[in-house]
């Protein structure tokens, strides 16, 4: 057989696998949802079917990857979106840099999660497992069907071109390789919570064990989503060239809403797991979070958000995808409305208690989700209904969101210190006095030293430090640091349950992000000026000398390169290069900013266009900006740590029960 023929075979095998996966998912969905009472034997079949669905979709995905890797342009998708001269990693990441390929990736992650439930959920009761895998298969069937029928990545060209169409250098970035898979893993992971919620509603059985099964999945997805959003934010920061890191763009909001809802879900599932309360609300949040993930993935590309961001401007696709969303989300809420009143509520508690604090957390987060959702969709609805165009931009979101987050941050350190059922607020307040004193002292000190450019800065600092120190306070207290010998304290710290560590770390990360945001908003310095080689400029204690300007030939672009020497305060000198590139093939211009890190702060230098015989240069000093992303990494690490907790290990409720001899918190 000729090599070309075998490659063609691979593509057709992939095509066939995807269609087979669609058929299997359809049958599994019907079997799981209609025959769920059949118990263990059905569960075994469904588990095998779920794993098989994953294998089939993985084969399909690999077939497309292979076509991209070998530059097989008989595959229409590869011909349109790849190029034989791309570096290998960008050939592979190019698979999901387009509508069809990203759908395939989305489905791959969906069936991967389904297969994980099948593989690790051995201890799940058979009825529940049947319903969960059935719902998961329903989702798989819907989106595989959509892909095969309207967005088929396996279409072929009878006369393959010799070369692919796309060599857009801007998109050849490691960020594109990593960002979408992380984001999708986050979005899609919440499908498991959705399936568990549907299972609970259909079977009418929901208890603490349910929450214990759901929470690791919510945590895993939340962790990926945190990383995905943070990574996207950093990518925009260094790539887009003016140092903005969050724009409240509809597309960003679409990924932020599931994150907020998922954060609320993590907290409410905690109440349900420990106290058997908040059942209905937790199920509601599970449905909402995944619904927002679906909106995040698909509203963006349905063409409804009028936007050049849209991949799929084909209106049929938009209508099909909206119908799928309407049926899935609408159906889930209908089921919720019908079945949730029958669920029994559990444990009672006083308003001042850990439960009460977590409910307050949920109230603020849920309102924030609502505010962002309304702000994102309002201009579209107003335009459609009243024919009036308005803009809802960053100033609106900063205000609305800020007002909601401030009280949440203020009460946050109290939460983990409050006892379950009934707590003594005064006693907890006394335990936080040291934290409060330290926070206020640092806020005043830094405000005085840094100078306050607008009145909200001290409040922001106060909240940031309060959360940072408050999250550490519990660890300090439990280890009795300073009150017993240090070695004993360390032993205690090491011995603390990981759930306590992960709570503290998660909150610490949030506090660090807040501090980074406040610092950059308050003390960023900006200089926009014209320079000629030989001249210097001063920004925030840094002296920037413009050494030379040259036009150079790159591999496939012409670059105007500015070379600069930066003299930092007491840090010696550094050479920086900022470029303005024009790519020969497309004529597409880009700017490559020069970014230099000093501790947690960065100097951000961008070469503007020539103006009369000189060069426009923009220089920013961004104090402590790295805290924004470090905080997100700490939050994600907290999630990872929590997943290793024995009491939470995926699908291991029996083992979890054995450790219950530990003293209750």
């Amino acid at each position: 057989m000729a090599p070309g023929a075998s490659a063609a075979m691979t593509i057709e095998l992939g095509h066939f696998s995807l269609i087979l996966a669609f058929a299997m998912a359809t049958v599994s969905a019907m079997g799981g949802l209609l025959l769920w009472r059949r118990g263990e034997r059905l569960a075994q079949v469904l588990a095998q079917a779920s794993i098989l669905q994953f294998v089939l979709v993985a084969l399909a995905f690999l077939a497309v990857v292979q076509a991209f890797m070998t530059s097989d342009f008989s595959l229409k998708l590869a011909a349109e979106n790849s190029h034989s001269l791309k570096p290998m990693i960008f050939k592979i990441s190019g698979v999901w840099g387009n509508h069809e390929g990203s759908m395939l990736l989305w489905i791959l992650i969906l069936v991967l999660f389904g297969a994980l439930v099948a593989a690790f959920g051995r201890r799940l009761p058979a009825d529940l497992k049947n319903l969960v895998l059935g719902t998961q298969s329903l989702l798989t069937a819907a989106f595989t069907g959509f892909t095969v029928l309207t967005s088929n990545p396996f279409l072929r060209l009878a006369n393959p071109p010799l070369e692919g169409g796309d060599l857009n250098p801007v998109l050849q970035d490691i960020g594109l390789a990593i960002h979408p898979p992380l984001l999708y893993a986050g979005y899609v992971g919440f499908s498991i919570c959705f399936s568990f919620a549907i299972a609970a509603l259909v079977s009418g059985r929901v208890d603490q064990a349910w929450a214990r099964w759901v929470r690791p999945w919510a945590m895993l997805s939340w962790m990926f989503l945190t990383l995905g959003i943070a990574m996207g934010s950093y990518w925009a920061y260094y790539e887009l060239g003016w140092g903005g890191w969050w724009f409240w763009d509809p597309v960003e909001n679409a990924s932020f809403m599931p994150w907020l809802a998922g954060t609320a879900l993590l907290h409410s599932a905690l109440v349900m797991e420990k106290r058997n309360a908040l059942k209905i609300w937790t199920i509601f949040l599970s449905i909402i979070t995944f619904s927002l993930s679906l909106l995040g993935t698909f509203l963006v590309r349905s063409g409804i958000l009028t936007s050049v961001h849209t991949f799929a401007s084909d209106p049929t696709r938009g209508i099909v995808i909206l119908s799928i969303l309407a049926v899935l989300i609408g159906g889930a809420f209908l089921l919720f409305a019908m079945r949730s009143p029958a669920l029994r509520q559990g444990g009672l508690f006083a308003p001042i208690s850990r439960e009460g604090a977590l409910i307050l957390n949920n109230l603020f987060l849920a309102t924030a989700v609502g505010a962002v959702l309304v702000g994102t969709l309002y201009p579209l609805l107003l335009d459609a209904l009243a024919g009036t165009s308005i803009s809802v931009g960053a100033p609106f979101f900063n205000l609305t969101f800020g007002v909601l987050m401030a009280p949440l941050l203020l009460v946050l350190p109290f939460g983990p210190l409050l006892a379950w059922k009934r707590a003594d607020l005064v006693a907890v307040g006394q335990r936080l006095i040291g934290t409060a004193a330290l926070t206020i002292f640092l806020t005043i000190l830094i405000s005085a030293l840094g100078g306050v450019s607008f009145s909200l800065v001290p409040l922001g600092l106060l909240l940031g430090f309060w959360v940072v120190f408050g999250s550490v306070a519990e660890l300090v207290e439990r280890a009795r640091i300073g009150r017993i010998p240090l070695r004993e304290s360390i032993r205690r710290l090491v011995g603390l349950p990981r759930s306590i560590w992960s709570t503290a770390m998660g909150h610490l990360g949030l506090g660090l992000t807040v501090l980074g945001i406040v610092s950059v908003s308050a003390w960023e310095s900006e200089l926009v000026t014209t320079l000629n080689p030989g001249q210097t400029a001063d920004v925030a204690g840094y002296t920037i000398a413009f050494d030379s300007f040259e036009t150079e030939q790159g591999p496939n672009y012409v670059a105007d390169t500015g070379r600069f020497t930066v003299t930092g305060p007491g840090q010696g000198t550094r050479q920086l290069e900022a470029e303005r590139r024009t790519y020969v093939a497309t004529g597409a211009p880009t700017t490559e900013a020069a970014i230099s890190t000093y501790g947690l702060s960065q100097l951000y230098l961008q070469l503007g266009e020539p103006l009369d015989d000189t060069h426009v240069v923009r220089i920013w000093h961004k104090p402590y900006i790295l805290l924004i992303w470090i905080g997100a990494l700490v939050m994600a690490a907290a999630g990872a740590l929590s997943l290793t907790d024995r009491r939470l290990r995926v699908g291991a409720p029996a083992r979890a029960r054995r450790t219950a001899a530990e003293p209750a918190e």
Binding site: I390, P395, F396
Partner: protein, 158 residues
């Protein structure tokens, strides 16, 4: 995908890679220039995706930046400059919508959602606290409560 899309959007909407305010547009008076930057950050670049005229380098954004500065030099207050632009381009130009007949719902959404949530909590609590119609005697009720307490504390240890 978000960033890729933003990036594509920018590439499509930008004709030149230069960004934002240029030195030749800037005013000599730093106080006036600071006000101009402040106003610019709240005005939409009408031909861009969700960018303020301060961040964008589209020709129109440049024209608007120059216009803002002209009005400021002419002695307008910040509000007057905004109004001048709204008169010419409509409310669409404001990134922070005004409170009016079309937008009250937008501005009210967050506080109303919060209050609804709060009220739902209170109602749910009341409903649960109200004693169910019961034929138990006081002693029986007390015994039952004791049993439930015991069960709750046990499930707590779980």
């Amino acid at each position: 995908m978000t960033r890729l899309l933003v990036l594509i959007g920018l590439l499509l909407s930008l004709s030149m890679p230069a960004l934002a305010v240029n030195p030749d547009e800037m005013l000599a008076d730093p106080a006036l220039e600071a006000r101009a930057r402040d106003i610019s950050a709240g005005l939409r670049c009408l031909v861009c995706q969700n960018q303020s005229i301060d961040d964008s380098d589209a020709d129109l954004a440049r024209d608007l930046r120059v216009l803002v500065r002209e009005r400021l030099v002419a002695g307008d207050s910040n509000a007057e400059v905004e109004q001048y632009l709204v008169d010419r381009y409509g409310e669409y130009v404001l990134l922070r919508p005004r409170f009016n007949a079309h937008t009250w719902l937008l501005w009210a959404a967050a506080p109303v959602l919060f209050l609804i949530g709060l009220m739902a909590l209170i109602v749910a609590r009341r409903a649960r606290r109200a004693p169910p119609p019961s034929s138990l005697t006081d002693e029986e009720a007390a015994a039952l409560a004791a049993l439930e307490d015991e069960r709750n504390s046990r499930s707590h240890v779980d």
